[in-house]
Symmetry: C2
């Protein structure tokens, strides 16, 4: 998606060979028009999949997932990392390991919001090691629902996430694939 | 906003005389079409205010604030409660006390995302004691920007938030004003 790559080139900041900061337009300040186009692009790529629900994880997945859900005309559910006062009743949960923070955490969705047989599109802002997406897929499958695709805004293709997800049989669509952040420069695949 | 009240009547769950659970459409599962209408309604109410930016706080403020920012054609910035790997550089911060969780926490926005002279609309999902909105307004004013209004999806009018914010001179617009949750029933003002 050329407009996204352009924003990354102009406003992305390479903090290290692993970390790309995109807080000017994606995950702190948000460009709503770009986000709408991201949603439209995911909807275009997955429209033939008969999607019933979009699932993401707080915090930074919410904006692109909301726009995707709007474009597809289906509800969005976001998994919580934090215990919430109103997250009551039976939960579906999974363990997710964060390589950057080096902590294991539990993510959860109220069981009432995922139903057996639903066709689910997972959307997230970044794909690195694939831990968040795998945790979300695990939760979807615990509900007896089916993951029909995983939509990623920015894939760090030099990390093993895509490979892991594809090995598990998931279709992964990423809007920007970063080949490398070496030398402080963003290089894309394609 | 009648459609919102209807959703609250149909899908809201009164957990106590203080706590209304709306996780079926607002803050866990999200109805994107309702959220788009919420954004359009805030935009309609504040369109004459020359707004430059919408500011909210993670997590549940993001969806209504994003739709408001899209409708107004301006960027969105969300304050972070959690330290983030990419939240680097000078920060503007404020202390926010949560009455429900009984903890004090620090919320922060990168100083680069708020500029002196900007006209800011604050949007949040709930108004109870007004602590989050006051913390956000504090951050906006630290930047030399101006809060031109506060848009709230659901106001718990039996709690002191609106009074506090109005006493400080802020215009508050709430789309649903809950007079009481007594007896397990949601009663609205109007």
């Amino acid at each position: 998606m050329e407009q996204l790559k352009q924003q990354i080139r102009e406003h992305g900041v390479v903090l290290s060979e692993q970390v790309l900061k995109v807080d000017a337009f994606l995950n702190h300040q948000i460009d709503p028009v770009l986000m709408q186009r991201i949603g439209a692009e995911f909807a275009r790529r997955f429209r033939d999949q008969g999607i019933d629900k979009v699932v993401t994880i707080e915090v930074s997945g919410i904006a692109p997932a909301l726009m995707t859900a709007l474009a597809l005309g289906v509800p969005l559910v976001f998994a919580r990392k934090q215990q919430s006062l109103t997250l009551t009743g039976p939960l579906l949960s999974a363990q997710v390991y964060s390589f950057t923070k080096q902590v294991q955490s539990t993510i959860a969705v109220a069981a009432s919001h995922l139903k057996a047989g639903e066709r689910v599109l997972i959307v997230d802002d970044f794909l690195a090691h694939g831990q968040a997406a795998r945790g979300l897929a695990d939760i979807v499958e615990q509900a007896g629902a089916r993951v029909v695709g995983i939509g990623i805004v920015i894939e760090k293709s030099f990390q093993p996430g895509r490979g892991e997800l594809e090995r598990l049989g998931y279709r992964v669509e990423s809007l920007a694939r970063v080949a490398s952040l070496e030398g402080g420069e963003v290089r894309f695949i394609d």
